[in-house]
Amino acid sequence: MDSNKKYWKGLEELQQTPAFVESSKGEFAEPIPVEDVLNEAGLSTKTPRRDFLKALGFGLGAVTLAACNRTPVHKAVPYVIKPEEVTPGIPNFYASSFNGQSVLVRTREGRPISISPNPNAVGVTQGTDATTVASVLDLYDMSKLQNPQLGGKDVEWSKLDATVIDALTKAASAGKQIAIVSSTVNSPSTLAAIAKLTAKYPTTTHVQVDAVSYSGIIEANRASFGKAVVPSYHFNNANVVVSVAADFLGTWLAGEEHTQDYIKNRDYKSLKNGKMSRHIQFESGLSMTGSNADVRIAIKPSEEGAVLISLYNAITGQSLPGGVSNKKAQTAITLAAKELTNNRGGAVVVAGSNDVNVQLLVNAINSALGAYGAIIDLDNFSKQYQGSDAAFQQFLADAAAGQVGVAFFLNSNPVYDYFKPADVTNALSKVAFTLSFADRPDETASTLKAIAPASTFLESWGDASSKEGYFTIVQPTINPVFNTRQAEQSLLIWSGDNTNIYEFVKQNWETNILAGTGKTWKDVLQTGFVYKGSATGSSYSANVDVNAVASAIATAARAIAGEVELKLYESTVMRDGRYANNAYLQELPDPITKVTWDNYAAINPKFAEELGIGEKGRIKVEANGYAVELPVVLQPGQALGTVSIAVGYGRTKVGKAGNNVGQNAYPFARLVNGTIQFASKASVSKAGGSYELAQTQTHHTIEGRNIIRETTFAKYLKDPNSESGRFSDSHKTYDLWNKFESPGHKWVMAIDLNACTGCGSCIVACNVENNIPVVGRDEVRRRREMHWLRIDRYYTLDAGDTKLTKEKEIAKATDLDYEDVTVVHQPMLCQHCDHAPCETVCPVLATVHSSEGLNHMAYNRCFGTRYCANNCPYKVRRFNWFNYWNDSRFDNYLNNEFTQLVLNPDVTTRSRGVMEKCSMCIQRIQGGKLKAKMENRKLRDGDVKVACQEACSANAIIFGDINDPESEVSKALRNERVYYVLEEINVQPNIGYMTKVRNTFEA
């Protein structure tokens, strides 16, 4: 079947702008000057014969001379005393955790090379997001401090210790406060170390503050239930989810955990059982969560409260004043309320706002819906965000008043991420001794008196408790690379306790955590976690004065309502800016805009037209006495009259990769009723100049072919085959080639478009596993990004009542507001076609087919004609224009011997002039097979897991052997929803996609 929907990757494609049409013709961004060279004029003028011969002669001579050196002598240096657990060539895995996510760290010959989710962490499902997978690179970051510093000069630890202890003693004897300012600390041993310091110096206070604050929820829960906590959410128990500006699949609280739970009601297994949840999203900027919603309504930030008031009214039948006036939203709310009330006990409303009143109203709604217990768990609450904006205000006031004698900063960088950096620096100038545990002289640390660089989590002993009752271990996988010391050890030493940190963590576990679990310290080191929480939370009901809340909400909304409203958000890629120096993350395209290496002002295309700004335009955004000029992104789905800007960019002192990338948006934030809020009134104006963002959205485009298949849940229930449109069902095919036999294994993949949220952790996992180089902003602009796996994001227009789906209708429609778009994410990688078009055009047989159904790429055979890339219908082949990993022009991160230790030793680093593409992690396939052979058994399903599959929390990527009828992938591919992209050209791809199913209202 031919889908009647028109899918497009960017506005330029939708509108078929001349520049887009021109650029989409060629495989590569810059044309190759073949014509110039070949026509006669070219030969006589541009490259005359004599010059050519000179160059040839020189080249030949140079090559001959270069070839004259002797074969280098390679040294083989074995261990002096080999550690018992190390066998060179075989990886070791250590259970550890990152930000509370239980992970496995893979090390080779003692150096960590990748991080994957802990597959045994049953019960507490937490995957790995892009930042976790990329964090292994931070260990090898050359921008880190190599020694402790006092006054900007390297010193010995002993000197620093003496200075600190002296300062602490002085402060304590003067009765002044000793403040430890940190982001949320949920690690039991860190807290124990802080307690040690408090015991020694009783004036110690611990202030927790998060760059992206959740104080609003904490305060609301304190008021409603007397529990000042952030609850955990179990979306797997929710049939209906309404989210008001909460990016809960991405950045809101525990995105990965939410994704796993949420997808359980939407993936192919759930659909097979005829079950799918409904998700309604109200938001201003198009977030990743919004892109996955079944129904999405664009609203202004000032309408968030109003939407909730209307929703409350519709659910409870009350009539609070201040409901929403937006027509589209009203309709959606009526329908949503019906859904919610029909699913009492199985419905939940979440809101992203940090306003206490908004969260109080949400509590009232959820209480009315009976969501507390199964869905919202206040007993096994989340401990990931405990920061208190009020506490930090208090600290600033105390410091400014000269009551603070010593201030320590632990994982906290307020000079960068507090909205009034001047207040912080002024306050700190009144503090006698200031110190940061930052691993680099960042914005805050560089203004302080001392830096006691902490080791990374891969070099430290420690633990975390991201949830009540859930404890994960952090164990070192390598000795500290630089002269660093973990913060906990420093705190212990300063409190006069010389216990080794290993002993300290171990004792703390044995006495406080393991007691009563029947588990020993060694068990924990093996499994990586302990879960002591109860199965489900108990029910709570909120007691909220809704009238007072509603009027407070209305007042707050009036303060931000305006012609133009600004909304700050945390981007899925850069988060709060902590990992800004991670080149893998900088080059990971944003899930929606596909922008790399920058932040930007996202505005609606129609709004841009009104402002007179086009693509590559720049605007000046002013709000709260702060202004920045930013390039714009014309973002379909963005509410009219709103601007969205991501925080986490514009860092100045983070390192080579992250310095001066984008603009800092934190100063736009406001402090309202004691909490930091990210929405405000703003004014925008056109700024001069133009700026080209490094955006991958229309790179490697598939020429608008029919490659996305989408249906609705209602249609699916009637006919599971609906819209999958399998070409082979209706057409007879003829082959030019012989059929490929795969008598052993045949490796295939199934991708569930309904499960893929577009988060991109698979891309980073692929980069890390396969040594894929980061190329930098300029090269991305030239369409030269090297990602083997990309996630294509397609828009369709979906204009409420009048369905604007057909191409002709779109062309006729004149006044589009671009607010109503729906999005499909499609991971695209080498399809390992049985009749691969790339193979037939390679003149040197560098890419050939294997008997296991893989399309092999022999780098050492390739000499770079790039015919294969031209002939690939999926545009998944990548060309090495440079020696990216060893060329000073691309000095993002990898051009030093130290950082190169992160490379996977099982995969070749490709050199200039060579084509590369997804190998289906052939090194893992070969490894898995070898393991089976060594154990004298057949290969079992699940023995081989490819990197992208492992990183995917949503289980959207399923890989395996189709010759094994019982394998998960075989079962998945027998699903009715499966279709093959571009099946009609009969290249016989080996990756099946499952149709996107949307649970819309209309059906």
């Binding site: 240096v77 066998t87 060594m934």
Partner: protein
Amino acid sequence: MRNISSVLGRLAKTMSVGLMLLFAVTMAHAQDVKEGETLFKSKCTTCHGVTKKVVGPALAGMSERHSEEWLVKWIHNSQAMVAAGDPAAVQIFEEYNKMVMTSFTDLSEDQIKSIIAYVKAEETKAAEAPAGGGAEGGAGAKSGDASTMMIVGLIAIVVLAVVVIVVLNRVIRTLEKVIANNQAAIAEAQARNEQFEESKFAKFAKAFVKNKKLVGFAVLMLVAFLAVLGWNTMWNVGVHQGYQPVQPIKFSHQIHAGVNQIECQYCHGGAFKSKNASIPSANVCMNCHNTVTASDHYDGEISPEIAKIYRAVDYNPETREYGDNPKPIEWVRIHNLPDFAYFNHSQHVVVAGVECQTCHGPVETMEEVYQYSPLTMKWCVDCHRTTAVNADNAYYDQLIEAHEKLKKGEKMTAAMIGGLECGKCHY
């Protein structure tokens, strides 16, 4: 040079040993000492030296410390004496960390006495050696003689060279005089010679040049020869078959794997588990070499090669303690595969059951290891084409079943199951 000096050194050593023996004969019965030497070397050297403490005490002076009767009893069964509470026995037992000395009940009293006699002879020799005038050129000067020889040799060569130059100068001057005197005669002789040459060689050359076919053929042959030479050279670029670099330690596989029959796996365990065969870490060497010092070949000194291991692990053989300043041994890698080729030892050794020698050659006979196989892709592929897959491995069941259906009777080679595909080795 080194060879000559070592030969001289040995000679001197033999002489000195001879002298010592002669001297020793006067002290004890020759028969006893000789028998004692054989017994000492076969039974005692693992743990004892004459003048050096090894595992057990140095034996020199034991006759003074203990009576012969006591010694015989001790050697027969030391533990019995300790158990009986003999004070001297207990003291030694305590001193050496309660290490139990092997009981030699099979040795007769006479044999033990022979050993004691031998030790006595040796200790006297050792005591004499530094002062002994006769042995001066022997063991004592052993380390010095190499450099002396070198210096003397060098001086000799310089003197010889000067003499040769002087003599040659003389000859040249004389010849010049002769030439000056006989210019005319020479010219005449030359003319005569040329005529003679012309008549023979030139004629042949002219005929050769005139015959175009012959010239063409010769040129063709030359071109063909150069082409073949070039072709072969090009194909052998990067092929290092026979590569035998000098290693930091003169390790002999012939002694370890050949004579002593140590399994390959003992040191290269990685070959059975991993892609790397792995060179053993120095602690593996120390498993044996903390007792095996080969000092009997080096005049009681620790073998200089084994001493290198001690330096690597920072081990002091006197105190038997390890320091904390180890230095890894930097071996020179012999088998170098390019980075883009993936090779896994365990796949070949464990799964396919290939003998180490198939690729590495008769290592057990190699004094120094060299690259036996060419390690070219052709060499890999040839083997994959002819080698049958190990059908006993359950992993291959499915493939063998599929294969049976297609080609009955033929063996299933690695090539048939994809052993020649690019991606199996290049990724």
